[in-house]
Each structure stands twice: as structure tokens, then as C-alpha cells.
């Protein structure tokens, strides 16, 4: 099986470690990963801000870029949901698209994997981002994967189902409400006594991480892929560390 990684524009530019972790993880599980280099952005920002005409060319481009692969894997619940639910409406004569998976769907549904051989000796809480839970219906897939990670202590996040307040351009159009929601989410994560707040969406984590840092919280934010890619550091792997981080 040859899968195309759609890394997302946010990850490409600001969180490349998530993209690297996704590649590392998938290759470790024996998947042949390709990265169609013409790829850019799924168009969600334009569409959700009220510019569907600007999103349509990007939906068509996505279909062209991903053509010929057996599957597409996206390390983002939000972009994954947008491609699955909105792209068919935008691309008027849709090119035959390979099946599109969000990363945890691909691991649990396509690969039937829960224990992906990861080692992460930290206390972690998981925030089910709105689009990954309500639009994609990831359910307990991320939790099943996290529970199987060696050394990881998974703690419950109070009010987990509540939105973090990012909301794309909502974060800058309604900054006061957005920040108030984000501060509450960080407070809940701190109450959980976790060291790491994990999620399957770096855009939400960018907002939450920015709030945690502004508030000088010791809490760290991390994308799920980076936890699942982490392994015990043996002498051999330490020499290849660059391949993971």
C-alpha cells in the first residue's frame, strides 16, 4: 500500500515535527509513504471564513495532487473532515479520490493497529478537538492508541468535549471569547495534572500552546503523532535521532 501524506499547510510551515513524526511512524509500521510535493492547503480557512470561491480551486488541486495513491493520510482532524465532507461539494467534477484517512483512523481502521510500538514515559491528557470528534467521529480511536503506548499515563481531561476556542479565523475575529475559552481549556488540562496536552489538530494546539505560554504554564502541547512516533532511545536510535525529531 502506497499512501500519500497530506501534511497540511499549518504543519508544513509551523509544526514540521508532526509531519516528520507521521512519516517515521508510518514507515516504522511498514507503510510506503509518498509526499506529493505540489500539495499546499485544503482551503478550509477560505471556505469557513466565507470565501467558497477561493476554496474551490484548492479542492480541485487536492484531488489532482493525491491522484494515483492507494490512500491519503492527514495528521489533522479538521483538515481531514473538510476534505471528506466539503471537498465533494466544491470540486464540481471530482477526480476519483483515494480514500482519505485522518491519521488515527488510518492506524486503527486500515492498519488495524493499536499498539504502534511507541514509548512515551509521561503523563498525558487528550483533548478531542471538535472537528475530529463531531465531524469525523474519531470516538475512542486516539485513546486506544494512547493507552497502548508504553510508559504513558493517560489522565482524564475535565470537560473534554468543550471547544478550545480556536475556530480558525474566529480566533482573531472574536479574540476575547476565543482566549477566554482557551484559558478554560488550559485550566482544565492543568487540573488533570498532565505534563502534556495532546490532540490530533495542531491549529487548536497552536492556540492552546500560545495561551499556556502566555500564562507561563508548565503544561506542554503535543500532537498525537509525535507521541506515537516516539520510541525508547537505544544507542542505535540515538544516532538516528534526526529522523524522528
Amino acid at each position: 500500500m502506497r499512501v500519500a501524506l497530506f501534511v497540511t499547510c499549518v504543519n508544513d510551515l509551523a509544526f514540521p515535527q508532526t509531519g516528520r513524526a507521521t512519516v517515521t511512524l508510518l514507515e516504522r509500521l511498514g507503510v510506503e509513504v509518498g509526499f506529493p510535493e505540489a500539495q499546499t492547503c485544503c482551503g478550509q480557512m477560505q471556505y469557513n471564513t466565507g470565501y467558497p470561491a477561493q476554496a474551490a480551486p484548492l479542492a480541485k488541486k487536492f484531488a489532482r495532487d493525491m491522484a494515483g495513491y492507494d490512500a491519503v493520510v492527514i495528521p489533522s482532524g479538521s483538515c481531514g473532515a473538510f476534505v471528506r465532507h466539503v471537498h465533494p461539494k466544491l470540486a464540481q467534477s471530482p477526480t476519483e479520490l483515494p480514500p482519505v484517512y485522518e491519521l488515527t483512523e488510518f492506524l486503527t481502521d486500515a492498519l488495524k493497529a493499536e499498539d504502534v510500538g511507541a514509548y512515551f514515559p509521561h503523563r498525558v491528557t487528550y483533548h478531542p478537538t471538535c472537528h475530529s470528534s463531531r465531524l469525523l467521529g474519531l470516538g475512542d480511536r486516539p485513546l486506544r492508541l494512547l493507552r497502548a503506548v508504553e510508559g504513558l499515563e493517560l489522565v482524564d481531561l475535565p470537560a473534554a468535549e468543550e471547544c478550545c476556542g480556536f475556530g480558525g479565523t474566529f480566533s482573531v475575529k472574536n479574540p476575547d471569547v476565543s482566549a477566554a475559552m482557551g484559558r478554560d481549556k488550559i485550566a482544565h488540562a492543568q487540573d488533570s495534572s498532565a505534563d502534556y496536552l495532546a490532540a490530533a489538530d495542531n491549529s487548536c494546539l497552536m492556540h492552546l500552546g500560545g495561551i499556556a505560554r502566555r500564562g507561563r504554564s508548565p503544561l506542554r502541547t503535543i500532537h498525537l503523532a509525535e507521541i506515537l512516533a516516539a520510541i525508547k532511545q537505544t544507542k542505535e536510535t540515538k544516532e538516528n535521532k534526526g529522523a524522528i525529531r
Binding site: 510551515l13 512519516v23 505540489a38 499546499t40 471556505y47 480551486p57 488541486k61 468535549e161
Partner: protein
């Protein structure tokens, strides 16, 4: 008792929310109340195994009725008339208010009792009647609190949700005497005492009133029967004691048959008050000779509804049965408060209903579709499956599309005769800059070489990017960094790493 503030000239949602998010008391009142109702609703809904089927049935009945609304409206008119009522048609708020004021005046009365009603809040009936020298007394406990406090409702079901009982005690003690029987002298903030004070105050009015004014939760087309569901029984007092009853009802409130009510009388109480059944359900069909009002008038209200009906995506908002489940789960409503929405309909449903009923000509109305993170919690709980996020995004596109393209076209549109007719013409020019930015982004994103170059430029200059923008700065950058740090950008993009390691 006229002076409730109106909605005209209110600040945009973000401006209003900037103030309300700082109000710790408001936030505490709202969080406690919404979380309590939210949890109770979830339990009440979980009791029914066929909830999802009920929800889809509710949606289907409403959609069918809306598709055939022309025929059902005529059926209602005929049935109500045959049952001894009089039907009036009101195109907009002004017409409805005019009709009601004239009907009250014709009775020779200068006061009327109100049943809690969203339609009359929507059209500002109390204020319109006051201008004609008619006092309209709210009799729903929470509406009474709002009216006595010269305040505005901030929630569909619990209009005084923003007040706690200490604040309510204060309002009763100082204001009841101005409008009738004063509150007992030693009034405390115990709920039972507050309820008793309201009961005594209202009883005086119930026994005196000659005119009642209501809305309706449903109109059954086959018999012309109106329904009001409530918890307190005060509504039933107003519906049965006066000699004249005037009901102002939105044209979307129709259900075809009694059998259809079976669905809604399960959906509504569980979604709104989290009860299996509400305590009082009053139904009336025209007039009867032996009991109840001698005269009944039904004012059917359009006020933007037919325009909403013409919108293929937006029309689903007309399915709304005003349960307020979406308000109680909305994280934005919880933090901004109901007043920030600037209409009788706050919360997620208000954000899609108000811009359709009123248009988006004002800055406030144009800002409402953006007052959501699109988290989808509202859609999940909606008993008639209104896809609120879908409508929000649809309305955002309308606001963005109707924004002027250039300075020149802005003034030429404003001067054209169309401008005065078109309700959808936002004054804000911020969408012009935004459209240019979105176009530029899409251009770059469809030209991979340009995209790579822009990406590299951003990363090469990363040490120069400020962590926090102060003073004059691009609005989005400042809005982000006022409360959040920007992420540290990496030395190398993912794409550059891939090229280095995989090619």
C-alpha cells in the same frame, strides 16, 4: 414600564463580547445555569431510545410544512375564522405592532397581560404599545424580572439567566412598587419567597386584566388550534381570564395535524427544560360561548421569514422550535452572554436567525454569522437537526460577497436605488481587505513555486518576527498576540526536510 433598551445601534458581537467576557459575575451566573440545564437535558434525552428517529421526524414534519406553507397558512386562516377567531396578516414588525395596538385600543383598555412570547420580543411589541399609552405586563417570572429591571432578555427559555437570586431580590424590592403590589418588606433571596412575591404581584393583574397577548409554540392547521407550553401556569391565566386574546405567531409555527404534535411534544420539553412533559399545555381553538375569551385575534407574522424561506441553505433555521438547547451547550454564548447577540434570539440559533430575519445591513447583524467557532455542539443537540454550522458558513459567504469590492463600487452601490431596498449590505469595509488576502492566499496556494518561496521567506526571517504586536500592527496579528504567544517557527519546513531525506 416601557423603557427596555432596543437593539438598534448596538455594537458588533466582538465589541459587546469584549465587555461581557470581563464580567466575572455574569460569567459565573451563566456557567452555573447553562451547565445545570445542559446536564439535565442530556439525561432526559438519553431516556428515549428513539431520540434520533424523533429528531429526524421533527425535521421532516417541519420541512414538509415549510415546503407547503402557502397552503397550510390558508388552511389555518379558514379554520381559525370558522372557529370564531379573526386572522390578521403582518408583513413586518411595524405592521404587527400597529395591528395589536389598534386591537387593544378598540377594547377601550390601556393595559394588557403578556404570555411569554419570542415573537412579541422580536418585534418590540411592549415598546410599541408603550408609545401608544398601553402598558403590557410580562407575567412569565423571568420576563417579569427582566421587565422590572428595565433590562433585556438574554436567553430564550430563561430570559433572566444572567441574574442571580440576590440581584433578583434587589429588583423585586426596589421596582415592584412602581408597577403594582410591592414586594414584602422583609424579602430574602430564598427562591420560594421570591416566587411568592411574584405570585402576589401578578395575581392582582390577572384578576383585573381584560386583554391578554400571547405567542404560540404551535398552530395545528387542521383545526386552527394554538398551543402554548409552559412551566408556571401564568400563561394559562392570561389565556383564559381576559375577555380579548391576541396571539402574535410567526408563520413557521404551523404543524399540519394533531398527530404531528406527538413528535414535538416529546422533543420540546426534553430539549428545553429537560422535562419529560412540561407542566402546563394550553390549547385553544377560536372562541367558545361558555368560557374563556370572547374575542380571539391571530396575527400571523412574516417579518423576514419568507425571505429566509427563499434561501435553500438558510431556510432550515425556520424549523426552530425555540427550545434553547443550542444556547445551553454553546461555549461562545456561555462566555459572551445573550445580550451580545443584540436580538431576541441569542446564541447559535440567533446567529443564524437574526441575520436572515433582519438582513445584515448593520455591523452587529453582519458580525453574527462569525460569532461561532463552528464546534458543532449546537447541531448535536438540536431537536430538529438544524445544521447551524452549515448555515453560519453559508451566511458568512453572503456577508463577504455582499461587502463592497472596492471603494468606488461601495459608494456606487450605496447611492443606487437598490441599496435602500437590499437588506444585505454590510457597512464594514474590513471584508474588502480580507477578500484581497484570501485571494492572494489561494493564488499562492495554487502556484506551488510561489508557495515554497513565501514559506521559505517566512522561515528565513523567523528570528525577526515579534512575539507580541503592540501599537499599529495588522489587526489579525495583534488580535492573536494580545492573549496568545505565536509558536516558535522551525528552521526548516516539513517540505524541505522531506526533500533532504526522501529524494
Amino acid at each position: 414600564m416601557s423603557g427596555s433598551a432596543t437593539y438598534i445601534g448596538m455594537p458588533s458581537f466582538p465589541q459587546a463580547a469584549k465587555q461581557s467576557t470581563k464580567n466575572a459575575q455574569l460569567r459565573a451566573n451563566l456557567t452555573r445555569a447553562t451547565h445545570t440545564i445542559r446536564d439535565k437535558r442530556a439525561r432526559a434525552v438519553a431516556e428515549l431510545e428513539d431520540w434520533e428517529q424523533l429528531r429526524q421526524a421533527g425535521r421532516a414534519i417541519k420541512d414538509h410544512t415549510l415546503r407547503n406553507l402557502d397552503a397550510y397558512l390558508l388552511q389555518v386562516e379558514q379554520a381559525v375564522t370558522e372557529a370564531g377567531g379573526t386572522v390578521h396578516w403582518a408583513r413586518d414588525a411595524a405592521e404587527a405592532n400597529r395591528i395589536v395596538a389598534d386591537l387593544v385600543k378598540a377594547t377601550g383598555q390601556d393595559e394588557a397581560l403578556k404570555v411569554k412570547s419570542m415573537a412579541t420580543q422580536e418585534i418590540g411589541l411592549n415598546e410599541a404599545l408603550a408609545a401608544e399609552g398601553i402598558s403590557a405586563y410580562e407575567t412569565d417570572l423571568a420576563e417579569l424580572i427582566v421587565q422590572l429591571g428595565d433590562d433585556r432578555p438574554s436567553h430564550i427559555l430563561v430570559p433572566a439567566i444572567h441574574k442571580n437570586r440576590t440581584e433578583i431580590r434587589e429588583i423585586f424590592s426596589t421596582q415592584m412598587s412602581r408597577w403594582g403590589r410591592p414586594a414584602p418588606k422583609e424579602l430574602t433571596d430564598r427562591p420560594a419567597e421570591l416566587a411568592e412575591a411574584a405570585r402576589l404581584h401578578l395575581r392582582e393583574k390577572f384578576l383585573r386584566a381584560k386583554v391578554g397577548i400571547s405567542g404560540a409554540n404551535f398552530i395545528v392547521a387542521e383545526t386552527g388550534t394554538l398551543l402554548v407550553v409552559e412551566s408556571e401556569g401564568n400563561g394559562r391565566m392570561c389565556l383564559t381570564l381576559p375577555e380579548t386574546l391576541i396571539s402574535v405567531v410567526g408563520i413557521e409555527k404551523i404543524v399540519p395535524t394533531w398527530r404531528d404534535l406527538e413528535v414535538f411534544l416529546q422533543l420540546l420539553p426534553r430539549s428545553s427544560t429537560a422535562e419529560r412533559m412540561n407542566p402546563y399545555t394550553s390549547m385553544w381553538t377560536g372562541t367558545t360561548t361558555k368560557d374563556g375569551p370572547k374575542a380571539f385575534h391571530l396575527v400571523l407574522l412574516d417579518n423576514g421569514r419568507t425571505r429566509a424561506l427563499a434561501d435553500q441553505v438558510g431556510r432550515q433555521a425556520l424549523r426552530c422550535i425555540r427550545c434553547s438547547a443550542c444556547l445551553n451547550v454553546c461555549p461562545v454564548y456561555e462566555r459572551a452572554g445573550g445580550h451580545a447577540y443584540g436580538s431576541a434570539y441569542p446564541g447559535p440559533i440567533g446567529a443564524i436567525l437574526t441575520p436572515q430575519l433582519r438582513g445584515t445591513a448593520s455591523e452587529l447583524d453582519a458580525s453574527l454569522p462569525f460569532a461561532s467557532t463552528l464546534c458543532g455542539a449546537c447541531y448535536e443537540v438540536c431537536p430538529v437537526a438544524i445544521d447551524i454550522p452549515e448555515v453560519l458558513v453559508h451566511l458568512r459567504a453572503q456577508v463577504a460577497e455582499h461587502a463592497p469590492h472596492t471603494q468606488q463600487t461601495e459608494s456606487s452601490i450605496a447611492n443606487s436605488p437598490e441599496a435602500s431596498k437590499s437588506p444585505k449590505f454590510p457597512k464594514s469595509s474590513s471584508h474588502r481587505a480580507e477578500r484581497a488576502a484570501m485571494k492572494a492566499a489561494t493564488w499562492a496556494m495554487t502556484h506551488p513555486a510561489a508557495y515554497r518561496a513565501a514559506e521559505n521567506a517566512i522561515l528565513i526571517t523567523r528570528s525577526l518576527h515579534p512575539k507580541r504586536f503592540r501599537g499599529p500592527a495588522p489587526q489579525p496579528a495583534k488580535a492573536w498576540t494580545d492573549s496568545r504567544d505565536l509558536p516558535d517557527l522551525p528552521k526548516q519546513s516539513f517540505r524541505a526536510w522531506w526533500k533532504e531525506t526522501h529524494r
